[in-house]
């Protein structure tokens, strides 16, 4: 089903992703990061994803959130930090003595939440772009954004090849197993060597397919050097909705950068004005 979010110009979508990428780096507060993440989910929600896409997205989110939370919770090394519970006591033979003990820290979990909100926001917006944009529209949009044609084509074909790579990787792994290869063995070097070798047919296949695809599009008049002769017939151009969204996002980013600068000047004793006190509070609490 084609929604309004599908019909946005691909350049608008790319700009949304870039600006959101900047926003999540600038913002520190979990509240504002949560707002960004909810906004990205809203984008996906109104673009009418399929059940398969929703499941895939949830899987991505689960893995990234779990990975970030887990790693930050146990590897958090800033102070102060509060131990919630200990996994390996410091007096535990070998591992405990070697690591000084492994614990889960409250501040680490908090930091993991913040990092996963940042990461997941860009991940969700990336999925939104891929799922709502035709390959050729994305290609042309990237080139119109002055991305070099060769790079734009590589990005677009890389996205197109993801399902093929998954399928071929499965086939390679199965064929290796059927030929008696075990990926997990006591000899770690043999395992690593086998895994590296598995990449060879996958890479060779990708190169071959990408070459064929490149030749196919060149045989149909596509050039990485110029888009000036193209007819933007079916690809939607920038419309008032696109301009509105891009303007709102640009102003939001400028405003947040401005507020952050004002707060930075205050916090570092460079400039203080009493009439800006509410701004300082807002920036500290919300941004």
């Amino acid at each position: 089903m084609v929604s309004t979010m599908h019909e946005l110009d691909p350049r608008t979508k790319i700009v949304i992703m870039m600006l959101c990428g900047c926003l999540v780096i600038l913002l520190d507060s979990p509240i504002s990061l949560l707002a960004c993440f909810l906004f990205s989910l809203l984008l996906i929600a109104v673009s009418s994803p399929t059940l398969k896409q929703i499941r895939l997205l949830l899987l991505f989110l689960l893995f990234t959130t779990w990975g970030l939370l887990y790693s930050q919770a146990i590897f958090y090394n800033a102070f102060p930090r509060t131990i919630l519970f200990t996994l390996v006591p410091s007096d535990f033979p070998v591992l405990g003595e070697w690591t000084g003990g492994i614990s889960v820290y409250r501040e680490g979990i908090f930091h993991g939440v913040v990092q996963s909100l940042r990461f997941n926001t860009t991940l969700v917006i990336g999925c939104y772009i891929i799922w709502t944009t035709q390959s050729r529209e994305l290609l042309v949009a990237l080139m119109k954004l002055r991305i070099p044609g060769t790079l734009a084509f590589m990005v677009t074909t890389a996205l197109r090849f993801i399902p093929i790579i998954v399928e071929e990787t499965t086939a390679v792994i199965r064929s290796q197993r059927l030929r008696g290869f075990r990926y997990l063995r006591l000899n770690i070097f043999a395992s690593i060597n086998g895994i590296i070798n598995s990449f060879r047919p996958i890479l060779a296949g990708i190169i071959r397919q990408a070459t064929h695809l490149g030749e196919s599009v060149e045989s149909r008049g596509f050039s990485t050097e110029s888009t000036s002769e193209r007819t933007p017939s079916m690809a939607s151009g920038m419309r008032s909705m696109d301009y509105c969204i891009v303007t709102v996002f640009c102003f939001s980013l400028i405003a947040i950068v401005g507020l952050k600068l004002i707060y930075f000047c205050y916090a570092n004793g460079i400039y203080y004005a009493s009439w800006l006190r509410q701004v300082y509070t807002f920036t500290r609490e919300i941004l």
């Binding site: 390679v172 030929r179 008696g180 007819t231």
Partner: protein
């Protein structure tokens, strides 16, 4: 109307020392239908690529001589101009479609060459009508069959209204029905629209009726260029190169005498009881309520249209997929309870794309990989590897990188690698793809001989009727995932209802 003139054309790829095209001189008149054939690696595809400008514009190498299409030198003319005169249909439909929907795919080329926006939808409708896909505009490419994808690719080219159409083995991935559809469209373009056609293929019989001229290539040179009426009067040049001719029964008879079906069957190896299989996210079964039993010593062909479930059935037989319902018993063990590692040495498989099996640095290492994993003795490994290299005629490539070999050689390497495990059940998916007759027979001869000698079982999926007639004792015919025939090939092919 646009003639093609090629004069003193030489082309050498960067990694090669000998030219792939060696002094090519040919004039093709407007409206000609040229059948271009020759053994694998003879330079057919390279010649087509020089005509549409992919060489030199998108491919490195050393070229000399001239290629003109409609008095325009395609070597110097930008491809965006050449593509408006010359259309190119590639071999594999999977690798040439770029967009998500059918309409977008066709619009892509039209937009690239600057066709006015208001004319594009008319051209899409017309092109789809010409390829028999009227009303397919909004269909997703991923939901189409291989035959439909190839027709979409053809529609995307003819919508640009080229005067010359180059087709590079466009039917090699297609079943007979889809092949017939493509050939009918091309014939219509040639006879009704006056499009000049250059059609490369190993399946001479399929295209011979449509062409008015036959060109035979070998080792980068044109060794025969005659009107169709006289081209096949002397078939020796074709047979010498192992190229099919309109009447190449002599090869078939020879093979039948060599590989007589076995009369005594051994123990049961595979048993499929009421199996069905449904892919995740799919709404229908790819294989439906299928029953069959396969014994030692059988050579079996699985046939059926594109999408009928041949590859799925092969994967189920090999334990690579587990049935959604029913039971697959491999050498007496339920496949649901087996891990793939338990099947190593029992089942060997070569996919339609043999490259997926090639992971080693040399051909010899590739063949050694399996026996080494089985932890056989060094002597046994050496014997198996030497046998496989010898039987599949890979001696001169033993130290080469598998991926640097030709398609036929890569497939032989993959088959040798699987055969070195001496599996009781050998599964081979579409061995005909991209192979000339000589290579194909060489491969099948070697494999069938090894299978017969070891009293093992070969199951291969194919669209190629003659291959089945020549090598299979039994045929499993599938239609939409259902087994509609299980018996002797002769019986199947004599039954017109099938």
């Amino acid at each position: 109307m646009v003639p093609i003139q090629i004069e003193n054309l030489f082309f050498t790829y960067p990694s090669r020392t000998t030219p792939t095209l060696n002094r090519i001189n040919i004039d093709i008149s407007a409206g000609d239908f040229v059948l271009l054939t020759g053994p694998t690696g003879c330079g057919k595809t390279t010649l087509l690529r020089t005509i549409n400008g992919l060489i030199p514009h998108a491919s490195a190498g050393t070229q000399s001589g001239s290629v003109t299409v409609g008095n325009q030198n395609v070597t110097t003319q930008p491809m965006s101009k050449t593509c408006q005169q010359v259309g190119f249909l590639f071999q594999n439909p999977e690798y040439q479609l770029f967009c998500t929907t059918v309409a977008d795919e066709i619009a892509f080329g039209l937009e690239n060459i600057g066709v006015p926006a208001d004319a594009i939808s008319d051209r899409i409708t017309l092109a789809l009508d010409q390829v028999g896909l009227k009303g397919f505009e909004d269909r997703l490419i991923t939901e189409l069959s291989s035959g439909e994808k190839q027709r979409v690719a053809l529609a995307s080219i003819i919508s640009m209204r080229p005067k010359v159409l180059l087709l590079d083995e466009p039917t090699s991935h297609l079943d007979p029905k889809a092949t017939h559809n493509i050939l009918a469209i091309v014939k219509n373009l040639n006879t009704e629209m006056g499009v000049t056609v250059v059609f490369t293929t190993h399946r001479v019989k399929q295209v011979e009726e449509l062409c008015n001229r036959v060109v035979l290539m070998d080792k980068g040179q044109i060794c025969l260029d005659l009107p169709k009426s006289s081209a096949f009067q002397d078939t020796k040049p074709f047979l010498r190169l192992g190229v099919e001719t309109p009447n190449s029964d002599s090869v078939k008879e020879k093979q039948i005498t060599n590989f007589a079906p076995s009369t005594e069957l051994g123990n049961q190896l595979l048993s499929l009881t009421n199996i069905r299989y449904r892919y995740p996210e799919s709404k229908m079964d790819a294989v439906k309520q299928l029953n069959c039993h396969i014994s030692e010593g059988e050579i079996i062909a699985i046939m059926g249209a594109n999408g009928s479930g041949k590859t799925t059935l092969l994967n189920l037989m090999g334990g690579l997929l587990r049935p959604t319902g029913g039971e697959v018993s491999i050498v007496g063990r339920d496949s649901k309870k087996l891990k793939l590692k338990h099947l190593a040495g029992t089942v060997g498989i070569v996919f339609q794309n043999p490259d997926l099996l090639l992971q080693a640095a040399t051909v010899k290492d590739e063949i050694t990989f399996g026996p080494k994993n089985l932890k056989l003795t060094i002597e046994d490994i050496q014997n198996r590897v030497e046998d496989a290299i010898d039987v599949f005629m890979l001696t001169e490539f033993a130290d080469d990188v598998p991926h640097s070999l030709s398609r036929g050689q890569r497939q032989r390497t993959a088959v040798a690698a699987a055969a070195s495990l001496k599996p009781k059940i050998f599964l081979l998916d579409e061995p005909t793809t991209g192979q000339d007759l000589q290579n194909l027979h060489r491969l099948m001869d070697e494999l069938c001989q090894a299978i017969r000698e070891g009293n093992r079982t070969l199951i291969f999926a194919t669209h190629h009727r003659e291959l089945t007639e020549q090598y299979a004792d039994r045929i499993l015919l599938l239609n939409n995932g259902k087994l509609i025939f299980d018996g002797k090939p002769a019986t199947a092919f004599s039954d017109k209802a099938l």
